[in-house]
Every structure is written in structure tokens, then in C-alpha cells.
């Protein structure tokens, strides 16, 4: 994950961030890519299953093993072929992307929810609140992110599966990854809040008798929102790779579920025989990471043209 030092300069009047964003060609492309991917992930599997197929839709659900069609190449029934157990590759790919986005979504929700609120509180109140929250964040921050996630997934993985089934594993992975993401968000939001706190409009609001909560919600929050959005978007790329790495190490999503990391893991051994099965999920992951990175960069440039990176 990139260490982001974000500062804010005044925007030129008349320049909204939306316009700035749309002028950035890379950002526009990545918005499109992300949108298409989201659509594919949400609706893709069901459309694909029922589209133009004369045969049983079950064949394309990505879980059903058709033993007569093992390791086949692209065909009218299976648009991207099948894997070593006769499961439809395209369907598995779409499901895997869905899971990656789902995990990313969960992680960012916690990240944003927990990280930014704690950051706001720490920055606004200062004092022991700040010390407490900052120490807590530092504690988690010191841990190289993936390491803690690996530790937690490894130790509690089987328990999660026993208690909650496969969604248990997913939740555990999301939980572990968000554990290591929120400290960064909290830090960023805290430092921005600290500088905003001393601004005139805050002092004005206070002197008008606004309550603390009101100040936080109506004055500070809107002004850190851009920071939260940018940081979260850039973080998504890292989460996608982390989830794939966990699955690669056997600590994330398991069979019969699909995950980009898991698909690559299973296919890497047979790469000479069937390179397709490695490169399809690999391309998917790379594409997702690039798209979110570009989008995040574009957002940051749009909000913060003179920003130091």
C-alpha cells in the first residue's frame, strides 16, 4: 500500500473536482472499467448462465463439475473453457471478481466507518482521546499489514469455517484486512482534522454556539470527505491483492468458492500445460488494481492538484 501524504491547497474558483476528474483521461477510463466490472460482478453470473445456451444452465454456474469437460478450451458452452474439475472458467472468474469486490467493499466500509470517525474524534478533541486512539492506531500500524492478516486468518480460519461456513472465512478475511487498514485512514483523517480545527469557519461556528457534534458533522466531515474517498479508493487496490495473497497461501477463500488468488494458486503448477488458466485471473487482478489505482490518483489530482505524493 502506498504511503500517501495528502495536503490540501485551495482550489481555483470555478474548478469543481468533478470537472477536473473528467478531464483526466486515465481516470475516465478507470471509472468506466470499474463500473463495467461492478456490473459484471453483480449481474454477470446470472446473465451468463442463461444466455444463449441450449444446455443446462447448471453447467455454467462455476461450481458444478462436469467430468466430461475437463480442461477444455473456449467453446460455445463455456466461453473461457473449463478448469481441472470441469468447472466453467468464466463463471468462476466472475464469482471471484465479485468476491474480491465484496471483500474490498466490506473492508473499506469498516475502514471508512471506523477509521475516519476515530480520526475525526482524535483530531477534534485532542487530549487523552487523541492519545488513546493514536496509540491504538500506532500499535496496529507497527505491524506490517499482511502479516497480522496472515496470523489472524491462519489461527482462526478453521474455527470460522466450522461456525459460519464459507461465508465465515470471507468475513474473517475481511475483518483481518480491515484491522490493518483503519489505522492509516485514522491517521490521515486526524492530521487533516487537526489543521482544519484551527480554521476560521470552525471558530466562527463555535462562537455561534454550535455543539461539538454538530461542528464535526456539518463542518469538519464534509471537508475531509474528499480525503476519505481518495484514501479508500487507493486502498482498494491493496485489499484486492492482499485477499488474493491470503487465498494463495491457503488462508483465505477455499474450495468450492472462487477467488482470484485461489484460481492462480491452483493453476500455477500446471502453467506449461494450460497457461490460460493462470493468465485469465492474473489479468483480472492486474486490471482491477490498475483501474483502482488510476481512479484513486485521478481523484486525488482532481481534489488536490498541487498535492505532494
Amino acid at each position: 500500500m502506498e504511503q500517501v501524504h495528502l495536503t490540501r491547497e485551495n482550489l481555483r474558483p470555478g474548478r469543481t473536482w468533478q470537472r477536473a476528474l473528467l478531464k483526466n483521461r486515465n481516470a475516465v477510463i478507470s471509472i468506466l472499467v470499474v463500473a463495467v466490472t461492478l456490473l459484471l460482478a453483480l449481474a454477470g453470473p446470472s446473465i451468463y448462465q442463461n444466455l444463449l445456451t441450449g444446455s443446462d444452465p447448471k453447467l455454467r454456474d462455476g461450481v458444478y463439475q462436469d467430468y466430461d469437460a475437463i480442461n477444455t478450451g473456449p467453446s460455445p458452452t463455456h466461453w473461457l473453457g473449463t478448469d481441472y474439475l470441469g468447472r466453467d472458467t468464466l463463471s468462476r472468474l466472475l464469482t471471484a471478481i465479485r468476491i474480491s469486490l465484496l471483500v474490498a467493499g466490506l473492508v473499506e466500509t469498516i475502514n471508512v466507518g471506523l477509521g475516519s470517525s476515530l480520526g475525526l474524534l482524535a483530531g477534534f478533541f485532542g487530549g487523552w482521546v487523541d492519545i488513546l486512539i493514536s496509540r491504538l492506531a500506532d500499535m496496529l500500524f507497527a505491524f506490517p499489514g499482511l502479516l497480522l492478516a496472515i496470523l489472524v486468518s491462519a489461527v482462526f480460519g478453521s474455527t470460522a469455517r466450522e461456525l459460519y461456513g464459507s461465508s465465515g472465512r470471507l468475513l474473517l478475511v475481511a475483518g483481518a484486512l480491515s484491522l490493518v487498514s483503519w489505522p492509516l485512514m485514522a491517521r490521515l483523517v486526524r492530521s487533516e482534522t487537526l489543521s482544519l480545527r484551527e480554521r476560521d469557519f470552525v471558530t466562527a461556528a463555535r462562537s455561534l454556539g454550535a455543539g461539538q457534534l454538530q461542528i464535526i458533522l456539518t463542518h469538519l466531515l464534509p471537508n475531509v470527505a474528499w480525503l476519505i474517498i481518495v484514501a479508500a479508493t487507493l486502498d482498494v487496490a491493496g485489499v484486492i491483492v492482499s485477499e488474493a495473497t491470503l487465498s494463495l497461501l491457503g488462508l483465505g477463500i477455499e474450495e468450492p468458492g472462487a477467488s482470484l488468488g485461489l484460481m492462480i494458486f491452483r493453476a500455477v503448477g500446471k502453467i506449461e500445460r494450460d497457461p490460460f488458466q493462470v493468465f485469465i485471473p492474473a489479468a483480472a487482478i492486474t486490471g482491477l488494481v490498475l483501474a483502482f489505482s488510476f481512479l484513486g490518483d485521478g481523484l486525488r489530482d482532481a481534489f488536490d492538484p498541487q498535492g505532494r505524493s
Binding site: Q65, S158, R161, E162, G250, E255, R266, G269, E272, R273
Partner: protein
């Protein structure tokens, strides 16, 4: 014990590579040249689990131990007993007493002479309290007084007597036709008291014995290097060294071979989904083995304490599809406990667990779970070593789902944790954390049905992790074990096998084939078509540049 069974698989592999007269030679012996270094991978592990003979568990351990240590006897190419540390022996009391004459001039690799005293020391040590987790008890508990040493009530084994420095006498509790076979196991191999006393916790780092090689360097988690034993009784091997890296992933080992970094690979694990790429190469060798992969059940707790449930699961498995399509024919379907080719094989027993989806459904319904309703949540446990297991488990998962309506999770565990859990299940089967059912392997230790029938499924034996128990079965095998007459003991084993198959003590899946790649520059190794382990004459093996 499952650890041992994989050893057998590997021993088979080593055995496969043998230069024994009467076998079909595949490579010609080259003119004796300066030895060369043999690079031979140990797949499936990150680190050699143990090099101390009584602790030999995994096949990789047994493989390396067999290169460094030796016992009283060994197997030859026809799977007959041949002399090793003992030049000759006498059998007395109808198979209850054995007198071994130790080879004259036999020495350890460091030059120390070997006497009967050393063999006695090694046996006593193997049964000692330090090795309670070891394998001596599985194979040699028939020696009189051996179990007393393990329990602590005796210091030495009463049945092992040193008559004079060249003569060792071993007495058994009951006469046994296969005792000598049991001595081909690492548990009884001779170790040097001097070496052990000099460095009790890590003498194996520079281990030496009476085998053809000795350890030069053991880089933990990386590789082990062996060099010739100058005092080996058959002569000093010509090879300069054997380098054995530990490669967890068999597919990586294959890539290493393909890029010229290895001379032999695949003896321990082979990525069978890449068979089509290599099977036409001259260096490729494939041999059938007496090693069976099966599903074991925990008979002590629900749902598998009900034989009807076990039978339902067994009849729901379409083995033909599993073997031919999923495994792409890389292995052979197994329908009986005693494998074909072994004395006592009963082809008629093959249809007992045949695939019948309708029957499976009925059985499950009669057991109280129509269409899988209310069936408890269970997981099939597999280890992470064998690259085929994830595939097989996933296919089985689907078969049971489709036919029985039962959802089965897959629990993949690291190899040594898996073995630990198996042991825990054996010792404490009713514990909620005990495994419900699992995929395991067993490889023949010697060509006798006792090894597959009694040693696996009799009530209370160590390998019977699932606690399968049937009084009739026990009666039959107990009688057969001490019976010296093949004409009566084989049918007894067959009857017992039929009982066990009907009640699904085991659900055999397939017999493995050994697949390996041996570079043509390696001379002196011969692959036998049989599979079960003859000894290699390492003095004749060389690698030409």
C-alpha cells in the same frame, strides 16, 4: 499409521530403483567412471521430519534413513529376504526364535566395528520411553518383553539376547511368518551408541550408520547432502555425493528437473496432471505400487458410527469417473483392501462397494436422513502434501451432494498437523474435535495380506485410526496371523476383508502408480515392474557428466 504407509510408498520408490538380477533392466550399466553427484529431490516437505530410525514416519524420512542406516536383513529384487547386517540366520522353535550371525568385519562409517551388542542397543533404544511416538511398537511389538520397556517396567528387552559379539538371538511372543519382513523397517536399524551419546539432541545432523552413505551436511529447511560410506560392506559407492533438496511443491520440483537442476524427481510426489507432458520421454518411469488411497471413517461418533451411513457414502462414489476422468487415468481404481498382485487378492470382493446411486439414497434414507435432511455438518480431512487430494476431495464433495444431498466441507491440513490429528482421533475418537472422516494412504510394508488387513483394521491396532471394530473380523485375523499354512490363512484374510468391505471399515479409492523422472545420465538404477522394495546396489550407481 498413516505416516508409515507413505514411507512404504517411498520405500517402494527407492526399491523400484534397483539393480537386481532377474528384473527387467531399463538402463544399461555404464562403464565404471568417477561417480558424479546425484541431485534427487524430496517432494512434499519443507524439512525432513526425522532422521533417527525409530522416528521414521514419513516416506521421505524412511527414504533418507534407508540410505544412511541398515538393519539385520533387507529385501532383494524378488521381495525375498536377503542378508544385510546379518550374514545368515537360524529359525528355531517353529518361528518363535531367530538367531542372527552378524557379518564379520562389519563397521560403522566412522570405522568402529559393529557387533551384536550394537543391534541390541538399537532395539532397546527404539522401545525406550524417548521414542514412545516412534514406530517400533507397530512392527516389533511381537518381540518378547519389548512392550515392557516402553511401559517402563523393564530396562532392556528380555527377548533380545547377545550370545556373543557375532551372535544375536531374538525371541517372539508368538511365532510369525513375517517377522523377518518386519525387520526391514527402520525401527530396528543399527545406530552407533558413541554417536548418540556424544550429541544426544542433534547427532542426526551428521548421522552415520552401516548404510551405503552418511550425512555430510543437513541444511535445515533446505536440503540434505550425503557422501559415500567408505566402510560400506558391499564396497564404497562410486557416487561423489547425493544432494537432496526439500521441495514442498511437486510441480516446482518438476520445473527444477525440466531446467536441469535435478537428476531424479517424482519419487515422493508427482504432479500427475502434468503426466501427459512427460510420459513419452525416455527418462519417465511409471510402475504400479502396492499403495492404496482410501477414506477412513471415525466409527466411534455420529454420523459414521452407523454402518448404513458409511455404506451410503461408499455406494454414492462413482469411482470409475473419479479415476478415469478427474484423475485422467493416472492411477488405478481400488475396490478391495488387499491389492491385486498381492497373495490373497480376491477379485470377487470388488463388487461389494460398487457404485449404485439409487441404493446409496435408500441406505441413507433408512439410516434416518432422507435426501440428506438433518445430516450433521461434517468435513473431509485431507493433507496438503499430495497434489491429487484437493481434486479428489472436490469431486467427492460434488458426488455426495448430488447423490445424497449431503454437504461436506473440505478440511485441508498441513501434513504433520494432519498426522497429529489422526493420532489424536485414534486416541480420543469421541472428542468433538476428532476427525469425522479423512483421506489417507497405506503402502505395503511387505507382500503379505496381514499388512493390509490385520495391521489396519483389527480392533485396537495403531493404524486403525477410525476404531473400526468387528468381533468376527478380529477372530478371523487373529487366527490367520499365527497360522503358518497359506492354504488356510489366505481364505481367512479374504473372509475378513469381505466383512470389512461390507461394513465399510475402509472406502478404498485408488492404487497409486509411482511416476518419476530419472535422467539418462544416471546409471546403475533399474526400475522394477513390481514396485515393492528390493534393495539398490549403490556401489554400482554413477552419474555421467
Amino acid at each position: 499409521m498413516q505416516k508409515l504407509s507413505t514411507i512404504t510408498k517411498l520405500i517402494c520408490l527407492i526399491a523400484l530403483i534397483s539393480l537386481i538380477s532377474g528384473c527387467v533392466p531399463v538402463t544399461q550399466t555404464a562403464a565404471p567412471a568417477a561417480g558424479g553427484t546425484l541431485r534427487w529431490s524430496l517432494e512434499g516437505i519443507n524439512e525432513l521430519p526425522a532422521l533417527d530410525p525409530p522416528l521414521a514416519g514419513a516416506s521421505q524420512s524412511v527414504g533418507v534413513i534407508s540410505l544412511v542406516f541398515e538393519g539385520l536383513v533387507r529385501l532383494d529384487g524378488q521381495l525375498n529376504i536377503a542378508p544385510a547386517g546379518a550374514e545368515s540366520w537360524d529359525v528355531k522353535d517353529g518361528g518363535k526364535t531367530f538367531v542372527f550371525h552378524i557379518r564379520k568385519g562389519l563397521k560403522f562409517a566412522n570405522g568402529d566395528p559393529v557387533t551384536a551388542e550394537d543391534y541390541a542397543y538399537s532395539l532397546n533404544r527404539a522401545f525406550g520411553p524417548d521414542f514412545a511416538n516412534g514406530n517400533a511398537g507397530y512392527y516389533l511389538s511381537n518381540i518378547s518383553g519389548a512392550t515392557d520397556v516402553t511401559s517402563g517396567s523393564a530396562q532392556t528387552i528380555s527377548g533380545v539376547k547377545v550370545i556373543d559379539p557375532q551372535t544375536l538371538e531374538i525371541s517372539l511372543n508368538t511365532p510369525s511368518v513375517y517377522f523377518l519382513y518386519q525387520l526391514t523397517f527402520p525401527a530396528s536399524f543399527v545406530v552407533s551408541k558413541k554417536a548418540v551419546d556424544a550429541n544426544p539432541t542433534s547427532w542426526t545432523d551428521t548421522a552415520y550408520g552401516t548404510g551405503p552413505f552418511m550425512v555430510k551436511e543437513w541444511k535445515h529447511n533446505q536440503s540434505i547432502t550425503l557422501v559415500p560410506n567408505p566402510n560400506y560392506w558391499l564396497g564404497k559407492p562410486q557416487l561423489e555425493a547425493i544432494e537432496m533438496p526439500f521441495i514442498q511443491d511437486a510441480a516446482t520440483a518438476l520445473k527444477l528437473y525440466q531446467t536441469g537442476e535435478l537428476d531424479i524427481m517424482g519419487t515422493y510426489n508427482f504432479p500427475t496432471d502434468q503426466l501427459s507432458a512427460v510420459s513419452s520421454l525416455p527418462e519417465f518411469k511409471q510402475v504400479n505400487q502396492f499403495f492404496v488411497a482410501y477414506i477412513g471413517f471415525n466409527n466411534a461418533k455420529p454420523p459414521f458410527n452407523n454402518p448404513a451411513v458409511r455404506q451410503a457414502f461408499a455406494r454414492a462414489v462413482d469411482k470409475a469417473t473419479l479415476i478415469n476422468k478427474v484423475m485422467e487415468g493416472a492411477v488405478v481404481q481400488a475396490d478391495t483392501i488387499i491389492p491385486p498382485g498381492m497373495p490373497g487378492y480376491n477379485a470377487a470382493a470388488a463388487k461389494i462397494q460398487s457404485f449404485d446411486a439409487a441404493e446409496a439414497k435408500t441406505l441413507l434414507a433408512n439410516a434416518g436422513y432422507p435426501d440428506g435432511k438433518d445430516f450433521p455438518k461434517i468435513a473431509l480431512s485431507i493433507n496438503n502434501q499430495d497434489p491429487n487430494f484437493p481434486k479428489i476431495a472436490a469431486a467427492l464433495q460434488q458426488m455426495w451432494q448430488e447423490t445424497l444431498g449431503v454437504t461436506v466441507d473440505i478440511n485441508t491440513e498441513e501434513l504433520s498437523k494432519f498426522n497429529d490429528d489422526l493420532t489424536a482421533t485414534a486416541n480420543n475418537p469421541e472428542d468433538p474435535a476428532a476427525l469425522s472422516f479423512y483421506v489417507s494412504v497405506w503402502g505395503a510394508d511387505y507382500p503379505d495380506p496381514q499388512n493390509f488387513v490385520s495391521q489396519q483394521l483389527r480392533s485396537g491396532v495403531g493404524n486403525n485410526n477410525g476404531h473400526y471394530s468387528n468381533a468376527e473380523f478380529d477372530k478371523l485375523v487373529d487366527a490367520a496371523d499365527v497360522d503358518a499354512n497359506q492354504a488356510t490363512r489366505l481364505p481367512a484374510y479374504q473372509q475378513a476383508e469381505t466383512i470389512a468391505l461390507t461394513e465399510v471399515g475402509w472406502l478404498p479409492l485408488y492404487y497409486g502408480k509411482a511416476n518419476m523422472l530419472i535422467r539418462t545420465s544416471v546409471n546403475g538404477l533399474v526400475v522394477t515392474p513390481q514396485g515393492l522394495f528390493p534393495a539398490v546396489d549403490w556401489t554400482k550407481v554413477t552419474v555421467t557428466k
